[in-house]
Symmetry: C2
Subunit: 229 residues, 2 copies
């Protein structure tokens, strides 16, 4: 793929990058985490190519187990391919509704993806050949997925800072998507990422607004020394 711009701070050199963060900068980091949303509603305007490059560069700054950098990204530019991905997701949406049983109607009323209307569609994937990487994965081979998730979270936060919405769609059969994208054996798509301009960001998580689920209080999720229930 074409050359991507380096993230913005690189222009200032190493000393600026490693300098202490001011209170305003610290606040910006917390704020972007607070304002980030899993978006399903997008405007269709395309994203600037340099912006997409910055977001991918942010993803590539993520940590990875043993520095294996297992992530790969596919930019979906072809409209027919995008429609095929949408069809795969729609098929899984119906299967999920069936599996949900009594909440199936409620689920079917949710908007769960914005694949056809978003300005930019990416697929994030695990590379093949990961079995060579043993460091940090002997007992927990799925740390490679954890690394890709960190990359996606970086991308998500960078997008939000730049005023761009993103939604992570995991409603698909990974093997069918792998074949559709002509990905090699041993690779695996893990996320369909809808990116785009938005009219507004949801004030709260959309699944809370739709009364599908409610977040827990942090205090209930933290233990000291030993698990207590």
């Amino acid at each position: 793929m074409r050359q991507f711009a380096k993230p913005a701070p690189a222009r200032n050199g190493y000393q600026i990058i490693m300098a202490d963060f001011t209170q305003e900068e610290i606040d910006a980091v917390y704020r972007v985490m607070t304002a980030r949303r899993d978006m399903r509603h997008f405007l269709s305007d395309p994203l600037d190519n340099a912006l997409v490059g910055r977001l991918l560069a942010a993803a590539h700054l993520a940590p990875s187990v043993g520095l294996m950098q297992p992530w790969r990204f596919i930019r979906v530019c072809d409209r027919a391919l995008r429609a095929s991905i949408h069809a795969l997701v729609e098929a899984e949406r119906l299967e999920t509704a069936r599996a949900l049983g009594e909440r199936d109607d409620e689920f079917m009323r949710l908007k769960v993806e914005g694949i056809l209307e978003c300005g930019e569609l990416l697929v994030a994937a695990l590379a093949p050949g990961r079995e060579r990487h043993v460091f940090g994965r002997r007992t927990m081979p799925d740390m490679d997925l954890a690394s890709v998730a960190c990359a996606i979270q970086n991308l998500w936060l960078a997008a939000r800072a730049e005023g761009i919405g993103m939604g992570w769609v995991s409603l698909f059969d990974p093997e069918r998507l792998r074949l559709l994208l002509r990905m090699p054996p041993g690779s695996r798509p893990v996320a369909v990422l809808c990116l785009g301009h938005v009219r507004e960001f949801y004030p709260r998580p959309m699944l809370e607004m739709a009364q599908w689920a409610h977040g827990a209080e942090l205090e209930t999720l933290v233990h000291q020394d030993y698990w207590q229930d």
Copy 2:
């Protein structure tokens, strides 16, 4: 656990949180991603309790599949328990060296954790009962791990902004660690997180500085429409 402070921006209310980001704030977000390191060298000074609360609150702002928030955190305060966790990690370090074959000596010279010296030790885990959550997980149940990884990445970035180092250790047998921490069946520890003040942050990833591994160029990891090799 005790009440944690909300993240800093909350004091300014909703409109401030959702306001556009200035160029300086956008730069701060990219810079914290660029300056973040997987740390293994720590000073032993303890972390301020309110700071730990802010970091956990940052983790809890992460996205999660179907809003299931599968993460749990254990703060390890007991020194004897910390020593037991260290022993588990040391045992896996030796097993990993054995599994690495010809790179075993090289691996044994790496510093792979700072469990005994870091100021604060956390264990991040997957909660039990996750099989109830079908949305986004019917074909890919390990999206719960991806959600915990996003939470850890939030925590990592918040720590770096606050000048605190973090290292993610995945060298352990998860079942042995689960039993040590008296975690219920169906739960699973996924990360031992060393947090603490540091003398300095590594200028480059430590595994690159130690010639263990080298990062790839982003351009080689991005495809258009279909996978090309």
